[in-house]
């Protein structure tokens, strides 16, 4: 007999047979031109739709960094500005400061005996004006003492403050928040605040009587210049309903220990002007001298949760749906073509381990889907940013880490959807059923939620349907695009319509993964049980 059975390796049987199955399935995929074209088409559609989304926005907002002081030269007149905080995130930074320069270390102490204010009742389409107000404050109106690296917006800072609804707070660098004494300040229950600078460390204290001090915490993060701005500040954000407010606080017992430059306290509005994106109610101001002041201000010092523009992630909302539609067709063809002509028998005669066959197929389509999705998302974001800049618009800054998460997430959504439809195909074995089923389960929910997510829904209908789709259907994974920061420091409707998803990105992706795993299990069961 001239025939020998050549099997050089006897160890690692499983791995080796899986590797061969993987190689075979990859060869299968790449040798059908239509499938490769479909994959490329999916990526191209994603980029095209993202490009059109970026190009379609003309109500732009400019971005600038308070630290570098650089604003984008493309920004035309009248484009509002969102500051960027020390962590690269978008921030609101507008307030009225009564301060002076502090050289080296020092401590500021003040007592606040009252915090009152007014809320705009101008119509929604008119600019807020002090002429049309009613009494009332936002829950997060703030008055207190602050140390900030500079008066440029987005500077690192620390502040201890009173609020109408959240008691005394120690906040620093926009995203950090420590609670202190409960309750709002009043003449009967005044609040004493103290902020101490020692090098880069800023320590906050509160007290109800000025003798018993309680330490709230210390900020040590970013380096501070030798000379910092120190003083009293007041600011007052828009309400939950979107109305601008203005707050007035009464300070007394103001003392400053340390070497200060200049002569006396100076009033200064930070980010109150029109270039800033944040709605303010009138200009701030102060009266008083020595140790007693009344200060009025409007704005917010907090994460910017929204600025009405696009984010690199929201560019992909519709684009992802278009790509998924094509991927469903490709993945359905990749499996059901095996069953159309009995090719599955050749396949299983060559790879008798059915689990390996399914796993190899899933790996091939999953890996290709991931690469196509992630690459297209990366290109889309770069292209989108370029287009927006050319048009004088801006993309809400997300930070590199969030952008990377979005890119990987889009790849994962495409991959998981492809694998799920592949499994559905192995289970149903029929092309038409798999394509329709794949579209109904994996694309239609996304299509249905898109108008709500992109805020384009002006029509009637109960938002509970899209909310449930975003929780339970595979469309939950689109929460990976929910990249706007939400903050407990900002009272804002964090709704789907404003770009906030009911699930966190990881959990949303997990929901899709569960769908995929369930379908894979069904497919595996059917594949092992049935004769092909």
């Amino acid at each position: 007999m001239t025939v020998t059975d050549t099997s050089p390796l006897d160890t690692g049987r499983g791995a080796s047979s899986f590797a061969a199955a993987l190689h075979a399935e990859w060869t299968k995929f790449r040798t059908v031109r239509g499938w490769v074209f479909g994959l490329v088409l999916a990526a191209m559609l994603l980029v095209l739709f993202a490009y059109l989304t970026g190009n379609g926005q003309h109500s732009g907002i400019c971005v600038g960094s308070g630290q570098s002081g650089a604003t984008q030269p493309q920004c035309g007149q009248g484009h509002p500005l969102v500051s960027v905080g020390p962590g690269g995130e978008a921030v609101a930074d507008s307030y009225y400061l009564v301060g002076r320069q502090l050289r080296g270390n020092g401590t500021i102490t003040a007592r606040i005996t009252g915090l009152t204010g007014v809320t705009s009742n101008a119509p929604a389409n008119a600019a807020p004006s002090l002429a049309r107000t009613r009494p009332g404050l936002a829950g997060w109106s703030k008055a207190g003492v602050i140390v900030t690296a500079s008066t440029r917006q987005g500077s690192p800072y620390a502040a201890v403050m009173v609020t109408p609804a959240h008691g005394v707070r120690f906040q620093y660098d926009y995203t950090h928040d420590v609670p202190g004494l409960q309750g709002a300040p009043s003449a009967a229950a005044p609040r004493w605040l103290k902020l101490k600078r020692a090098g880069d460390a800023l320590t906050a204290y509160d007290s109800s009587d000025g003798t018993n001090w309680h330490e709230l915490g210390t900020r040590t993060a970013a380096r501070l210049p030798a000379s910092v701005e120190i003083g009293m500040f007041v600011t007052s954000p828009v309400t939950f309903g979107g109305l601008a407010t203005s707050a007035t606080a009464t300070f007394d017992h103001v003392t400053l220990d340390g070497r200060s430059l200049g002569s006396g306290w100076r009033g200064q509005g930070i980010g109150e002007g029109p270039p800033d994106f944040y709605d303010v109610l009138g200009a701030g101001g102060f009266r008083g001298h020595d140790s007693a002041f009344v200060v009025r201000g409007s704005g917010d010092i907090a994460p910017a949760v929204t600025a009405g523009g696009e984010t690199p992630a929201s560019l992909l909302t519709q684009a992802l749906v278009a790509a998924l539609l094509v991927i469903v067709v490709v993945a359905a063809m990749f499996t059901t073509s095996e069953y159309r002509r009995g090719l599955i028998r050749t396949t299983l005669a060559a790879m008798p381990k059915r689990g390996h066959m399914l796993a190899a197929k899933a790996t091939v389509i999953g890996a290709l889907g991931f690469i196509a999705g992630a690459a297209a998302a990366a290109v889309s974001i770069t292209l989108g940013r370029h287009v927006e800049a050319t048009n004088g618009n801006y993309l809400f800054p997300l930070g590199a880490l969030t952008e990377a998460r979005v890119i990987v997430g889009v790849g994962a959504i495409v991959a998981l959807t492809a694998v799920a439809v592949l499994a559905l195909g192995a289970f149903l074995r029929k092309t038409a059923g798999t394509v329709i089923g794949g579209i109904v389960v994996f694309v239609l929910p996304a299509i249905l939620v898109v108008p709500y997510v992109s805020g384009a829904s002006g029509s009637g209908g109960d938002p509970s349907v899209p909310l449930w789709l975003l929780r339970l259907s595979p469309a939950a994974a689109s929460s990976i695009l929910g990249s706007l920061p939400s903050s407990s420091q900002v009272s804002y409707p964090y709704t789907v319509g404003n770009g906030y998803f009911p699930l966190s990105p990881g959990v949303g992706l997990l929901v899709l993964a569960v769908w995929t795993v369930v379908l894979l299990t069904l497919a595996m069961g059917a594949l092992c049980r049935r004769d092909p």
């Binding site: 239509g34 739709f49 059109l52 989304t53 379609g56 519709q318 749906v321 278009a322 539609l325 094509v326 469903v328 067709v329 359905a332 063809m333 059901t336 159309r340 092309t431 038409a432 059923g433 798999t434 394509v435 329709i436 579209i439 109904v440 694309v443 239609l444 299509i447 898109v450 108008p451 992109s454 384009a456 029509s459 009637g460 209908g461 109960d462 938002p463 509970s464 349907v465």
Partner: protein, 257 residues
């Protein structure tokens, strides 16, 4: 022509899958409408919203199954090679396509009548329970209203036209999966595109796209806000279906099988 019709009818009738698909059209349409009606409460409904359109919203899903039925009716003939037998028996190829169109259109319309009747019944029974009742200014769903009849009858025609459009596309493309993909893309992608580009261009896209124009027939209120008027919209879809069938007729004559 009667022989062609008869043979195509026999072909469709003798595949049990087709009966299930037609049943699926009814179930999906009525099911989604019921879900939409059940989940909508008057408090979350835009004031003066369109209750009739709401209870016909199942067409949005039902049309997918219509598309699948129509695509499979022709593409599987190519997949199995049966098309050669068909065209050998009936050499007048265009009449084969027309016969398929007539029978698919008729069957879909029949399923559509059942589905739409179910949707209206559901609207009549379920909506008042959620506050969409005359006490809140919403008339009961009733066939005595001319606009409701237009929306209901138009939805039936809409489904039949979707069947014809899908048949045309599948005759051109021949592959089941790709044909379904193209039909779904034609239906669902233009509205997304219109959202993206917005403005006048977006409105034009909605005027010309088969689904957004065709479904205008379901509107009974705020007709002025529609991108296109109901009958004109259905006419746009009819044009799409007509062009796709025309191209299908030309290609099936010109190309080798």
């Amino acid at each position: 022509m009667t022989a062609v019709l008869h043979s195509e009818w026999t072909k469709l009738r003798t595949l049990s899958g087709n009966a299930w698909l037609l049943l699926g059209v009814v179930a999906a349409t009525v099911g989604i409408s019921a879900a939409a009606a059940g989940l909508t409460h008057v408090s979350g409904f835009t004031h003066g919203g369109d209750a009739t359109k709401l209870c016909l919203s199942g067409v949005y899903l039902g049309q997918l199954i219509v598309a699948a039925l129509a695509v499979v009716a022709i593409s599987e003939e190519w997949a199995t090679g049966m098309i050669r037998a068909t065209l050998a028996a009936l050499p007048r190829r265009i009449s084969v396509v027309m016969a398929k169109a007539a029978i698919l259109g008729g069957l879909t319309a029949a399923a559509g009548v059942v589905a739409v009747a179910g949707c209206l019944a559901i609207g009549r029974l379920m909506l008042p329970a959620n506050g969409l009742a005359p006490t809140h200014g919403y008339a009961l769903i009733s066939l005595s209203s001319g606009t409701t009849i237009r929306a209901a009858g138009g939805s039936v025609l809409y489904m039949a036209l979707i069947a014809l459009l899908s048949l045309g596309v599948a005759t051109l493309i021949r592959d089941t999966a790709v044909s379904i993909g193209v039909v779904v893309a034609l239906l669902y992608l233009p509205p997304l595109l219109a959202q993206i580009v917005g403005g006048a261009l977006g409105r034009h896209i909605k005027e010309l796209a088969p689904m957004s124009a065709g479904l205008a027939i379901q509107a009974t209120t705020h007709l002025r806000r529609l991108p296109i008027q109901p009958w004109a919209g259905l006419g746009v879809l009819a044009a799409w279906a007509g062009v796709s069938l025309l191209l299908a007729g030309v290609t099936i004559r010109m190309r080798d099988v």
